[in-house]
Point group: C3
Chain length 205, copies 3
Protein backbone atom coordinates (compact mmCIF):
# COMPACT_ATOMS: atom_id res chain seq x y z
CA UNK A 1 0.00 0.00 0.00
CA UNK A 2 1.60 3.25 -1.10
CA UNK A 3 1.77 6.48 0.87
CA UNK A 4 -0.81 8.33 -1.21
CA UNK A 5 -3.35 5.52 -0.79
CA UNK A 6 -2.81 5.64 2.97
CA UNK A 7 -3.36 9.39 2.87
CA UNK A 8 -6.54 9.03 0.85
CA UNK A 9 -7.95 6.42 3.21
CA UNK A 10 -7.08 8.44 6.32
CA UNK A 11 -8.70 11.50 4.73
CA UNK A 12 -11.92 9.57 4.02
CA UNK A 13 -11.99 8.16 7.55
CA UNK A 14 -11.58 11.72 8.81
CA UNK A 15 -14.54 12.85 6.67
CA UNK A 16 -16.57 9.95 8.09
CA UNK A 17 -15.88 10.65 11.75
CA UNK A 18 -16.37 14.41 11.36
CA UNK A 19 -19.59 13.63 9.50
CA UNK A 20 -20.72 11.62 12.52
CA UNK A 21 -20.02 14.55 14.86
CA UNK A 22 -22.03 16.89 12.64
CA UNK A 23 -24.93 14.46 12.52
CA UNK A 24 -24.82 13.95 16.30
CA UNK A 25 -24.97 17.69 16.91
CA UNK A 26 -27.90 17.84 14.48
CA UNK A 27 -29.68 15.06 16.36
CA UNK A 28 -29.09 16.85 19.62
CA UNK A 29 -30.48 20.09 18.17
CA UNK A 30 -33.50 18.00 17.03
CA UNK A 31 -32.99 18.84 13.36
CA UNK A 32 -34.89 16.77 10.79
CA UNK A 33 -33.17 14.18 8.62
CA UNK A 34 -32.13 16.71 5.97
CA UNK A 35 -30.78 19.15 8.55
CA UNK A 36 -28.78 16.28 10.05
CA UNK A 37 -27.45 15.30 6.63
CA UNK A 38 -26.48 18.89 5.76
CA UNK A 39 -24.62 19.25 9.05
CA UNK A 40 -22.88 15.89 8.54
CA UNK A 41 -21.90 16.97 5.04
CA UNK A 42 -20.59 20.40 5.97
CA UNK A 43 -18.71 19.13 9.02
CA UNK A 44 -17.19 16.19 7.15
CA UNK A 45 -16.09 18.19 4.12
CA UNK A 46 -15.59 21.69 5.60
CA UNK A 47 -12.04 21.21 6.84
CA UNK A 48 -10.91 19.72 3.54
CA UNK A 49 -12.61 22.48 1.52
CA UNK A 50 -10.81 25.09 3.64
CA UNK A 51 -7.48 23.24 3.21
CA UNK A 52 -7.81 22.93 -0.55
CA UNK A 53 -9.03 26.49 -1.07
CA UNK A 54 -6.10 27.85 0.97
CA UNK A 55 -3.67 25.67 -1.01
CA UNK A 56 -5.22 26.78 -4.30
CA UNK A 57 -5.96 23.09 -4.95
CA UNK A 58 -9.34 23.87 -6.50
CA UNK A 59 -11.79 22.36 -7.15
CA UNK A 60 -11.34 20.66 -3.76
CA UNK A 61 -10.65 16.92 -3.69
CA UNK A 62 -14.22 16.32 -2.51
CA UNK A 63 -15.55 17.78 -5.77
CA UNK A 64 -13.29 15.64 -7.92
CA UNK A 65 -13.93 12.25 -6.31
CA UNK A 66 -17.51 11.15 -5.70
CA UNK A 67 -16.49 8.88 -2.83
CA UNK A 68 -16.02 12.03 -0.74
CA UNK A 69 -19.67 12.87 -1.29
CA UNK A 70 -20.98 9.45 -0.33
CA UNK A 71 -18.99 9.13 2.90
CA UNK A 72 -20.53 12.03 4.89
CA UNK A 73 -24.02 11.11 3.68
CA UNK A 74 -23.46 7.55 4.92
CA UNK A 75 -22.13 8.93 8.22
CA UNK A 76 -25.20 11.16 8.52
CA UNK A 77 -27.73 8.42 7.74
CA UNK A 78 -26.07 5.88 10.03
CA UNK A 79 -26.02 8.40 12.86
CA UNK A 80 -29.59 9.50 12.25
CA UNK A 81 -30.91 5.93 12.52
CA UNK A 82 -28.49 4.46 15.06
CA UNK A 83 -27.65 7.33 17.42
CA UNK A 84 -27.79 6.71 21.18
CA UNK A 85 -29.97 8.60 23.64
CA UNK A 86 -29.57 12.39 23.56
CA UNK A 87 -27.90 12.35 26.97
CA UNK A 88 -24.89 10.46 25.69
CA UNK A 89 -24.51 12.38 22.43
CA UNK A 90 -22.14 15.10 23.64
CA UNK A 91 -19.59 12.54 24.85
CA UNK A 92 -19.59 10.80 21.47
CA UNK A 93 -19.26 14.12 19.66
CA UNK A 94 -16.07 14.78 21.58
CA UNK A 95 -14.54 11.37 20.86
CA UNK A 96 -15.29 11.35 17.13
CA UNK A 97 -14.24 14.99 16.91
CA UNK A 98 -10.87 14.04 18.44
CA UNK A 99 -10.49 11.31 15.81
CA UNK A 100 -11.33 13.70 12.97
CA UNK A 101 -8.95 16.32 14.35
CA UNK A 102 -6.16 13.73 14.52
CA UNK A 103 -6.70 12.45 10.97
CA UNK A 104 -7.13 15.83 9.29
CA UNK A 105 -4.15 17.50 10.95
CA UNK A 106 -1.99 14.73 9.50
CA UNK A 107 -3.49 14.54 6.01
CA UNK A 108 -3.67 18.34 5.80
CA UNK A 109 -0.01 18.73 6.70
CA UNK A 110 1.08 16.07 4.19
CA UNK A 111 -1.00 17.60 1.41
CA UNK A 112 0.51 21.01 2.18
CA UNK A 113 4.00 19.52 1.77
CA UNK A 114 2.96 18.11 -1.62
CA UNK A 115 2.06 21.69 -2.57
CA UNK A 116 5.55 22.84 -1.55
CA UNK A 117 4.62 24.81 1.53
CA UNK A 118 7.39 25.39 4.05
CA UNK A 119 7.46 23.00 7.05
CA UNK A 120 6.08 25.64 9.42
CA UNK A 121 3.26 26.55 7.04
CA UNK A 122 2.48 22.87 6.48
CA UNK A 123 2.10 22.34 10.22
CA UNK A 124 -0.23 25.33 10.35
CA UNK A 125 -2.30 24.25 7.38
CA UNK A 126 -2.65 20.78 8.88
CA UNK A 127 -3.90 22.33 12.08
CA UNK A 128 -6.36 24.55 10.21
CA UNK A 129 -7.67 21.50 8.30
CA UNK A 130 -8.13 19.64 11.56
CA UNK A 131 -9.89 22.47 13.32
CA UNK A 132 -11.95 23.74 10.37
CA UNK A 133 -14.73 21.17 10.22
CA UNK A 134 -15.54 21.46 13.90
CA UNK A 135 -15.55 25.26 13.77
CA UNK A 136 -17.98 25.26 10.83
CA UNK A 137 -20.20 22.70 12.59
CA UNK A 138 -20.27 24.70 15.81
CA UNK A 139 -20.83 28.09 14.18
CA UNK A 140 -23.69 26.78 12.03
CA UNK A 141 -25.39 25.09 14.95
CA UNK A 142 -24.94 28.03 17.32
CA UNK A 143 -22.38 26.45 19.68
CA UNK A 144 -19.19 28.07 20.91
CA UNK A 145 -16.49 26.49 18.69
CA UNK A 146 -14.80 23.66 20.59
CA UNK A 147 -11.37 25.10 19.72
CA UNK A 148 -12.20 28.21 21.76
CA UNK A 149 -13.55 26.40 24.81
CA UNK A 150 -11.23 25.73 27.76
CA UNK A 151 -9.61 22.57 26.53
CA UNK A 152 -6.42 21.36 24.90
CA UNK A 153 -7.43 21.31 21.24
CA UNK A 154 -5.13 23.20 18.88
CA UNK A 155 -2.00 21.93 20.64
CA UNK A 156 -2.49 18.19 19.90
CA UNK A 157 -3.30 19.10 16.28
CA UNK A 158 -0.08 21.12 16.03
CA UNK A 159 1.81 18.16 17.50
CA UNK A 160 0.25 15.59 15.18
CA UNK A 161 0.97 17.76 12.14
CA UNK A 162 4.44 18.53 13.51
CA UNK A 163 5.36 14.83 13.72
CA UNK A 164 4.58 14.08 10.07
CA UNK A 165 6.21 17.29 8.86
CA UNK A 166 9.34 16.62 10.91
CA UNK A 167 9.58 13.10 9.50
CA UNK A 168 9.10 14.40 5.95
CA UNK A 169 11.76 17.07 6.48
CA UNK A 170 14.15 14.31 7.57
CA UNK A 171 13.08 12.37 4.45
CA UNK A 172 11.88 9.53 6.63
CA UNK A 173 8.70 8.36 4.96
CA UNK A 174 7.76 5.08 6.65
CA UNK A 175 4.09 4.22 6.42
CA UNK A 176 3.66 4.24 10.20
CA UNK A 177 4.51 7.93 10.55
CA UNK A 178 1.04 9.32 9.68
CA UNK A 179 -0.48 6.82 12.10
CA UNK A 180 1.96 7.91 14.83
CA UNK A 181 1.06 11.57 14.23
CA UNK A 182 -2.66 10.90 14.32
CA UNK A 183 -2.43 8.63 17.39
CA UNK A 184 -0.39 11.25 19.28
CA UNK A 185 -2.96 13.95 18.58
CA UNK A 186 -5.89 11.63 19.36
CA UNK A 187 -4.40 10.33 22.61
CA UNK A 188 -3.54 13.76 24.01
CA UNK A 189 -6.94 15.12 23.06
CA UNK A 190 -8.75 12.18 24.70
CA UNK A 191 -6.75 12.49 27.91
CA UNK A 192 -7.46 16.23 27.94
CA UNK A 193 -11.21 15.57 27.59
CA UNK A 194 -11.23 12.86 30.27
CA UNK A 195 -9.19 14.78 32.82
CA UNK A 196 -10.85 18.10 32.03
CA UNK A 197 -7.39 19.60 31.49
CA UNK A 198 -7.52 23.33 31.25
CA UNK A 199 -4.88 25.76 30.16
CA UNK A 200 -4.18 28.91 32.21
CA UNK A 201 -6.95 31.51 32.23
CA UNK A 202 -6.30 35.25 31.87
CA UNK A 203 -5.66 37.01 35.17
CA UNK A 204 -7.88 39.96 35.99
CA UNK A 205 -5.77 42.83 37.35
CA UNK B 1 -30.48 35.39 -26.53
CA UNK B 2 -27.65 32.93 -26.01
CA UNK B 3 -27.29 30.51 -23.11
CA UNK B 4 -24.53 32.44 -21.39
CA UNK B 5 -26.56 35.65 -21.43
CA UNK B 6 -29.48 33.79 -19.87
CA UNK B 7 -27.12 32.46 -17.21
CA UNK B 8 -25.75 35.91 -16.49
CA UNK B 9 -29.19 37.43 -16.16
CA UNK B 10 -30.44 34.63 -13.89
CA UNK B 11 -27.33 35.03 -11.75
CA UNK B 12 -27.93 38.77 -11.37
CA UNK B 13 -31.59 38.23 -10.52
CA UNK B 14 -30.42 35.73 -7.89
CA UNK B 15 -28.05 38.33 -6.43
CA UNK B 16 -30.93 40.82 -6.36
CA UNK B 17 -33.43 38.60 -4.55
CA UNK B 18 -30.84 37.32 -2.07
CA UNK B 19 -29.81 40.93 -1.50
CA UNK B 20 -33.44 41.69 -0.64
CA UNK B 21 -33.52 38.87 1.91
CA UNK B 22 -30.35 40.15 3.56
CA UNK B 23 -31.72 43.68 3.71
CA UNK B 24 -35.03 42.46 5.14
CA UNK B 25 -33.26 40.54 7.88
CA UNK B 26 -31.23 43.68 8.58
CA UNK B 27 -34.41 45.76 8.80
CA UNK B 28 -35.93 43.22 11.15
CA UNK B 29 -32.81 43.31 13.33
CA UNK B 30 -33.18 47.11 13.32
CA UNK B 31 -29.75 47.67 11.77
CA UNK B 32 -28.97 51.10 10.37
CA UNK B 33 -28.79 51.80 6.64
CA UNK B 34 -25.15 50.70 6.35
CA UNK B 35 -25.74 47.51 8.31
CA UNK B 36 -28.66 46.77 6.01
CA UNK B 37 -26.52 47.43 2.93
CA UNK B 38 -23.67 45.24 4.19
CA UNK B 39 -26.06 42.39 4.89
CA UNK B 40 -27.69 42.82 1.45
CA UNK B 41 -24.25 42.79 -0.14
CA UNK B 42 -22.92 39.76 1.69
CA UNK B 43 -26.11 37.76 1.22
CA UNK B 44 -26.40 38.64 -2.46
CA UNK B 45 -22.79 37.90 -3.32
CA UNK B 46 -21.85 35.28 -0.70
CA UNK B 47 -23.12 32.21 -2.53
CA UNK B 48 -21.40 33.22 -5.77
CA UNK B 49 -18.13 33.99 -3.95
CA UNK B 50 -18.24 30.54 -2.37
CA UNK B 51 -19.03 28.93 -5.75
CA UNK B 52 -16.21 30.72 -7.58
CA UNK B 53 -13.65 30.15 -4.85
CA UNK B 54 -14.45 26.42 -4.77
CA UNK B 55 -14.20 26.26 -8.57
CA UNK B 56 -10.90 28.15 -8.53
CA UNK B 57 -12.62 30.76 -10.73
CA UNK B 58 -10.92 33.64 -8.94
CA UNK B 59 -11.30 36.57 -8.73
CA UNK B 60 -15.04 35.78 -8.44
CA UNK B 61 -17.35 37.01 -11.17
CA UNK B 62 -18.65 39.72 -8.85
CA UNK B 63 -15.18 41.26 -8.68
CA UNK B 64 -14.77 41.27 -12.45
CA UNK B 65 -18.08 42.83 -13.41
CA UNK B 66 -19.23 45.99 -11.67
CA UNK B 67 -22.88 45.23 -12.35
CA UNK B 68 -22.65 42.58 -9.63
CA UNK B 69 -21.69 45.29 -7.16
CA UNK B 70 -24.52 47.63 -8.04
CA UNK B 71 -27.30 45.04 -7.90
CA UNK B 72 -27.12 44.15 -4.18
CA UNK B 73 -26.71 47.81 -3.23
CA UNK B 74 -29.86 48.61 -5.23
CA UNK B 75 -31.65 45.69 -3.56
CA UNK B 76 -30.54 46.94 -0.14
CA UNK B 77 -31.57 50.57 -0.73
CA UNK B 78 -34.94 49.63 -2.24
CA UNK B 79 -35.65 47.34 0.69
CA UNK B 80 -34.52 49.88 3.26
CA UNK B 81 -36.88 52.54 1.92
CA UNK B 82 -39.81 50.40 0.75
CA UNK B 83 -39.94 47.50 3.20
CA UNK B 84 -43.30 46.53 4.71
CA UNK B 85 -44.11 46.44 8.41
CA UNK B 86 -41.74 44.32 10.50
CA UNK B 87 -44.50 41.77 11.13
CA UNK B 88 -44.61 40.76 7.49
CA UNK B 89 -40.86 40.73 6.90
CA UNK B 90 -40.18 37.09 7.78
CA UNK B 91 -42.69 35.84 5.21
CA UNK B 92 -41.06 37.93 2.46
CA UNK B 93 -37.59 36.73 3.50
CA UNK B 94 -38.73 33.16 2.91
CA UNK B 95 -40.24 33.85 -0.52
CA UNK B 96 -37.29 35.83 -1.88
CA UNK B 97 -34.90 33.32 -0.32
CA UNK B 98 -36.69 30.54 -2.22
CA UNK B 99 -36.24 32.50 -5.45
CA UNK B 100 -32.54 33.04 -4.79
CA UNK B 101 -32.06 29.39 -3.92
CA UNK B 102 -33.78 28.36 -7.16
CA UNK B 103 -31.73 30.71 -9.35
CA UNK B 104 -28.34 30.02 -7.75
CA UNK B 105 -28.64 26.24 -7.70
CA UNK B 106 -29.18 26.39 -11.46
CA UNK B 107 -26.51 28.94 -12.35
CA UNK B 108 -24.04 27.32 -9.93
CA UNK B 109 -24.53 23.89 -11.48
CA UNK B 110 -24.16 25.23 -15.02
CA UNK B 111 -20.99 27.14 -14.14
CA UNK B 112 -19.56 24.01 -12.51
CA UNK B 113 -20.14 22.11 -15.76
CA UNK B 114 -18.30 24.86 -17.67
CA UNK B 115 -15.38 24.19 -15.32
CA UNK B 116 -15.51 20.47 -16.21
CA UNK B 117 -16.77 19.16 -12.92
CA UNK B 118 -18.42 15.74 -13.02
CA UNK B 119 -22.26 15.76 -13.12
CA UNK B 120 -22.54 14.72 -9.47
CA UNK B 121 -20.09 17.39 -8.32
CA UNK B 122 -21.86 19.98 -10.46
CA UNK B 123 -25.17 19.19 -8.76
CA UNK B 124 -23.46 19.53 -5.40
CA UNK B 125 -21.74 22.79 -6.27
CA UNK B 126 -25.03 24.22 -7.53
CA UNK B 127 -26.64 23.29 -4.24
CA UNK B 128 -23.79 24.86 -2.25
CA UNK B 129 -24.11 28.07 -4.31
CA UNK B 130 -27.84 28.16 -3.65
CA UNK B 131 -27.52 27.55 0.06
CA UNK B 132 -24.40 29.65 0.71
CA UNK B 133 -25.82 33.16 0.68
CA UNK B 134 -28.57 32.31 3.12
CA UNK B 135 -26.18 30.54 5.48
CA UNK B 136 -23.83 33.54 5.54
CA UNK B 137 -26.78 35.91 6.09
CA UNK B 138 -28.13 33.83 8.96
CA UNK B 139 -24.77 33.23 10.65
CA UNK B 140 -23.87 36.93 10.52
CA UNK B 141 -27.22 38.02 11.89
CA UNK B 142 -27.33 35.39 14.62
CA UNK B 143 -30.17 33.26 13.19
CA UNK B 144 -30.18 29.47 12.90
CA UNK B 145 -29.35 28.89 9.20
CA UNK B 146 -32.56 28.22 7.29
CA UNK B 147 -31.02 25.11 5.70
CA UNK B 148 -30.77 23.53 9.16
CA UNK B 149 -34.30 24.38 10.29
CA UNK B 150 -37.06 21.82 9.87
CA UNK B 151 -37.99 22.53 6.28
CA UNK B 152 -37.44 21.13 2.83
CA UNK B 153 -34.54 23.29 1.64
CA UNK B 154 -31.52 21.38 0.32
CA UNK B 155 -33.69 18.87 -1.52
CA UNK B 156 -35.36 21.33 -3.95
CA UNK B 157 -31.93 22.85 -4.63
CA UNK B 158 -30.51 19.41 -5.41
CA UNK B 159 -33.49 18.78 -7.73
CA UNK B 160 -33.17 22.11 -9.53
CA UNK B 161 -29.45 21.60 -10.05
CA UNK B 162 -30.09 17.96 -11.01
CA UNK B 163 -32.49 18.95 -13.80
CA UNK B 164 -30.04 21.26 -15.56
CA UNK B 165 -27.12 18.85 -15.10
CA UNK B 166 -29.17 15.92 -16.43
CA UNK B 167 -30.18 17.95 -19.49
CA UNK B 168 -26.57 19.00 -20.09
CA UNK B 169 -25.39 15.40 -19.75
CA UNK B 170 -27.92 14.42 -22.43
CA UNK B 171 -26.61 17.34 -24.51
CA UNK B 172 -30.06 18.89 -24.53
CA UNK B 173 -29.44 22.58 -24.16
CA UNK B 174 -32.76 24.29 -24.83
CA UNK B 175 -33.08 27.71 -23.28
CA UNK B 176 -36.10 26.69 -21.19
CA UNK B 177 -34.12 24.10 -19.20
CA UNK B 178 -32.60 26.52 -16.65
CA UNK B 179 -36.04 28.05 -16.14
CA UNK B 180 -37.54 24.60 -15.60
CA UNK B 181 -34.85 23.76 -13.03
CA UNK B 182 -35.34 27.02 -11.17
CA UNK B 183 -39.13 26.79 -11.27
CA UNK B 184 -39.07 23.23 -9.93
CA UNK B 185 -36.88 24.24 -7.00
CA UNK B 186 -38.90 27.39 -6.34
CA UNK B 187 -42.27 25.65 -6.49
CA UNK B 188 -41.30 22.79 -4.15
CA UNK B 189 -39.74 25.19 -1.69
CA UNK B 190 -42.80 27.45 -1.67
CA UNK B 191 -45.17 24.54 -1.14
CA UNK B 192 -42.94 23.30 1.68
CA UNK B 193 -43.06 26.72 3.36
CA UNK B 194 -46.82 27.07 2.93
CA UNK B 195 -47.70 23.58 4.13
CA UNK B 196 -45.05 23.59 6.86
CA UNK B 197 -43.72 20.32 5.47
CA UNK B 198 -41.27 18.74 7.82
CA UNK B 199 -38.93 15.86 7.26
CA UNK B 200 -38.65 13.03 9.82
CA UNK B 201 -37.10 13.99 13.15
CA UNK B 202 -34.55 11.78 14.95
CA UNK B 203 -36.12 9.23 17.25
CA UNK B 204 -34.99 9.29 20.86
CA UNK B 205 -34.32 5.69 22.01
CA UNK C 1 11.96 52.35 1.37
CA UNK C 2 10.06 51.04 -1.63
CA UNK C 3 6.29 50.83 -1.97
CA UNK C 4 6.09 47.06 -1.58
CA UNK C 5 8.09 47.17 1.66
CA UNK C 6 5.71 49.80 3.01
CA UNK C 7 2.79 47.60 2.03
CA UNK C 8 4.31 44.58 3.72
CA UNK C 9 4.99 46.46 6.94
CA UNK C 10 1.49 47.98 7.02
CA UNK C 11 0.02 44.53 6.43
CA UNK C 12 1.98 43.06 9.34
CA UNK C 13 0.99 45.92 11.62
CA UNK C 14 -2.61 45.25 10.62
CA UNK C 15 -2.20 41.57 11.53
CA UNK C 16 -0.74 42.63 14.88
CA UNK C 17 -3.51 45.03 15.87
CA UNK C 18 -6.27 42.69 14.71
CA UNK C 19 -4.53 39.93 16.64
CA UNK C 20 -4.74 42.12 19.73
CA UNK C 21 -8.49 42.62 19.23
CA UNK C 22 -9.02 38.87 18.92
CA UNK C 23 -6.99 38.21 22.06
CA UNK C 24 -8.87 40.91 23.98
CA UNK C 25 -12.22 39.41 23.03
CA UNK C 26 -10.87 36.03 24.13
CA UNK C 27 -9.76 37.48 27.47
CA UNK C 28 -13.17 39.05 27.91
CA UNK C 29 -14.88 35.72 27.14
CA UNK C 30 -12.53 34.18 29.75
CA UNK C 31 -10.97 31.76 27.28
CA UNK C 32 -7.77 29.98 28.31
CA UNK C 33 -4.39 30.90 26.83
CA UNK C 34 -4.82 28.63 23.81
CA UNK C 35 -8.31 29.90 23.09
CA UNK C 36 -6.95 33.44 23.28
CA UNK C 37 -4.10 32.55 20.90
CA UNK C 38 -6.44 30.87 18.41
CA UNK C 39 -8.73 33.89 18.39
CA UNK C 40 -5.72 36.23 17.97
CA UNK C 41 -4.48 34.09 15.11
CA UNK C 42 -7.79 33.82 13.27
CA UNK C 43 -8.62 37.51 13.71
CA UNK C 44 -5.16 38.65 12.65
CA UNK C 45 -4.94 36.45 9.59
CA UNK C 46 -8.62 36.00 8.63
CA UNK C 47 -9.02 39.16 6.57
CA UNK C 48 -5.84 38.48 4.61
CA UNK C 49 -6.82 34.85 3.98
CA UNK C 50 -10.16 36.02 2.64
CA UNK C 51 -8.46 38.65 0.47
CA UNK C 52 -5.93 36.22 -0.99
CA UNK C 53 -8.45 33.44 -1.57
CA UNK C 54 -10.77 35.86 -3.41
CA UNK C 55 -7.85 37.12 -5.50
CA UNK C 56 -6.73 33.57 -6.28
CA UNK C 57 -3.40 34.49 -4.65
CA UNK C 58 -3.07 31.09 -3.00
CA UNK C 59 -1.48 29.90 -0.82
CA UNK C 60 -2.18 33.14 1.09
CA UNK C 61 0.76 35.40 1.93
CA UNK C 62 0.56 34.28 5.56
CA UNK C 63 1.35 30.70 4.51
CA UNK C 64 4.36 31.74 2.43
CA UNK C 65 6.07 33.99 4.94
CA UNK C 66 6.60 32.76 8.49
CA UNK C 67 6.68 36.28 9.89
CA UNK C 68 2.90 36.37 9.40
CA UNK C 69 2.58 33.41 11.74
CA UNK C 70 4.74 34.86 14.49
CA UNK C 71 3.05 38.27 14.61
CA UNK C 72 -0.46 37.21 15.74
CA UNK C 73 1.02 34.76 18.26
CA UNK C 74 3.09 37.61 19.71
CA UNK C 75 0.01 39.83 19.76
CA UNK C 76 -1.95 37.11 21.54
CA UNK C 77 0.72 36.39 24.16
CA UNK C 78 1.35 40.08 24.88
CA UNK C 79 -2.36 40.69 25.29
CA UNK C 80 -2.85 37.62 27.44
CA UNK C 81 -0.19 38.70 29.91
CA UNK C 82 -0.54 42.48 29.75
CA UNK C 83 -4.25 43.11 29.19
CA UNK C 84 -6.03 45.72 31.33
CA UNK C 85 -9.00 45.03 33.57
CA UNK C 86 -11.97 43.40 31.84
CA UNK C 87 -14.01 46.58 32.19
CA UNK C 88 -11.75 48.50 29.86
CA UNK C 89 -11.29 45.74 27.28
CA UNK C 90 -14.20 46.62 24.99
CA UNK C 91 -12.92 50.15 24.47
CA UNK C 92 -9.48 48.87 23.48
CA UNK C 93 -11.05 46.31 21.14
CA UNK C 94 -12.75 49.15 19.29
CA UNK C 95 -9.60 51.26 18.97
CA UNK C 96 -7.32 48.46 17.76
CA UNK C 97 -10.09 47.21 15.49
CA UNK C 98 -10.27 50.67 13.91
CA UNK C 99 -6.51 50.55 13.29
CA UNK C 100 -6.71 47.09 11.72
CA UNK C 101 -9.64 48.15 9.55
CA UNK C 102 -7.67 51.19 8.36
CA UNK C 103 -4.53 49.24 7.53
CA UNK C 104 -6.20 46.28 5.83
CA UNK C 105 -8.55 48.33 3.67
CA UNK C 106 -5.47 50.06 2.24
CA UNK C 107 -3.22 47.02 1.80
CA UNK C 108 -6.12 44.96 0.47
CA UNK C 109 -6.99 47.55 -2.15
CA UNK C 110 -3.37 47.91 -3.24
CA UNK C 111 -2.88 44.15 -3.52
CA UNK C 112 -6.08 43.92 -5.58
CA UNK C 113 -4.66 46.49 -8.01
CA UNK C 114 -1.48 44.40 -8.32
CA UNK C 115 -3.76 41.53 -9.36
CA UNK C 116 -5.31 43.74 -12.05
CA UNK C 117 -8.73 44.17 -10.54
CA UNK C 118 -10.71 47.17 -11.74
CA UNK C 119 -10.63 50.26 -9.48
CA UNK C 120 -14.16 49.64 -8.19
CA UNK C 121 -13.43 45.99 -7.42
CA UNK C 122 -10.15 46.94 -5.73
CA UNK C 123 -11.99 49.33 -3.42
CA UNK C 124 -14.45 46.58 -2.60
CA UNK C 125 -11.78 43.95 -2.00
CA UNK C 126 -9.90 46.36 0.27
CA UNK C 127 -13.08 46.88 2.25
CA UNK C 128 -13.71 43.13 2.49
CA UNK C 129 -10.13 42.60 3.71
CA UNK C 130 -10.58 45.27 6.34
CA UNK C 131 -13.92 43.97 7.56
CA UNK C 132 -13.14 40.25 7.30
CA UNK C 133 -10.99 39.70 10.38
CA UNK C 134 -13.43 41.39 12.69
CA UNK C 135 -16.39 39.49 11.27
CA UNK C 136 -14.62 36.15 11.77
CA UNK C 137 -13.63 37.14 15.32
CA UNK C 138 -17.16 38.18 16.21
CA UNK C 139 -18.88 35.19 14.62
CA UNK C 140 -16.52 32.72 16.34
CA UNK C 141 -16.94 34.35 19.72
CA UNK C 142 -20.71 34.71 19.45
CA UNK C 143 -20.87 38.51 19.12
CA UNK C 144 -22.93 40.45 16.60
CA UNK C 145 -20.35 41.43 13.94
CA UNK C 146 -19.24 45.00 14.55
CA UNK C 147 -19.87 45.86 10.89
CA UNK C 148 -23.58 45.17 11.40
CA UNK C 149 -23.96 47.15 14.59
CA UNK C 150 -25.19 50.77 14.47
CA UNK C 151 -21.92 52.48 13.74
CA UNK C 152 -19.99 53.95 10.85
CA UNK C 153 -17.76 51.03 9.89
CA UNK C 154 -17.86 50.02 6.23
CA UNK C 155 -17.92 53.64 5.05
CA UNK C 156 -14.50 54.66 6.44
CA UNK C 157 -13.04 51.45 4.99
CA UNK C 158 -14.51 52.27 1.58
CA UNK C 159 -13.05 55.79 1.86
CA UNK C 160 -9.59 54.59 2.89
CA UNK C 161 -9.50 52.06 0.07
CA UNK C 162 -10.95 54.65 -2.29
CA UNK C 163 -8.14 57.12 -1.59
CA UNK C 164 -5.34 54.71 -2.47
CA UNK C 165 -7.17 53.38 -5.52
CA UNK C 166 -7.89 56.89 -6.78
CA UNK C 167 -4.22 57.85 -6.36
CA UNK C 168 -3.12 54.68 -8.17
CA UNK C 169 -5.59 55.35 -11.00
CA UNK C 170 -4.05 58.81 -11.38
CA UNK C 171 -0.60 57.12 -11.34
CA UNK C 172 0.34 59.13 -8.30
CA UNK C 173 2.30 56.70 -6.15
CA UNK C 174 3.87 58.79 -3.39
CA UNK C 175 4.73 56.84 -0.28
CA UNK C 176 2.46 58.97 1.91
CA UNK C 177 -0.71 57.94 0.05
CA UNK C 178 -1.27 54.61 1.89
CA UNK C 179 -0.73 56.42 5.18
CA UNK C 180 -3.25 59.09 4.18
CA UNK C 181 -5.81 56.42 3.27
CA UNK C 182 -5.31 54.54 6.51
CA UNK C 183 -5.36 57.71 8.64
CA UNK C 184 -8.59 58.90 6.99
CA UNK C 185 -10.31 55.60 7.72
CA UNK C 186 -8.92 55.44 11.26
CA UNK C 187 -9.85 59.02 12.13
CA UNK C 188 -13.43 58.78 10.88
CA UNK C 189 -13.93 55.46 12.63
CA UNK C 190 -12.57 56.81 15.93
CA UNK C 191 -14.76 59.90 15.80
CA UNK C 192 -17.75 57.69 15.03
CA UNK C 193 -17.00 55.53 18.07
CA UNK C 194 -16.45 58.48 20.36
CA UNK C 195 -19.53 60.43 19.28
CA UNK C 196 -21.70 57.33 19.01
CA UNK C 197 -22.57 58.37 15.45
CA UNK C 198 -25.41 56.34 14.09
CA UNK C 199 -26.71 56.08 10.59
CA UNK C 200 -30.46 56.26 9.85
CA UNK C 201 -32.54 53.33 11.12
CA UNK C 202 -35.30 51.72 9.05
CA UNK C 203 -38.68 53.35 9.47
CA UNK C 204 -41.51 51.09 10.59
CA UNK C 205 -44.62 51.79 8.52
Amino acid sequence: MSGSVVLHVLDLVGVFVFGITGALVGVRKKLDVFGVLVLAFVTGLGGGFLRDVLLGATPPAALRDWVYLVVPVAAGLLTFFLHPGIGRVERLVNIFDAAGLALFCVTGALKALQYDLSPLSAVLLGTISGIGGGVIRDVLSGRVPVVLRSEIYAIPALLGAGIVVLAATLEYDALWVPFAGAMTCFAIRLVAIRRGWNAPLPRNP
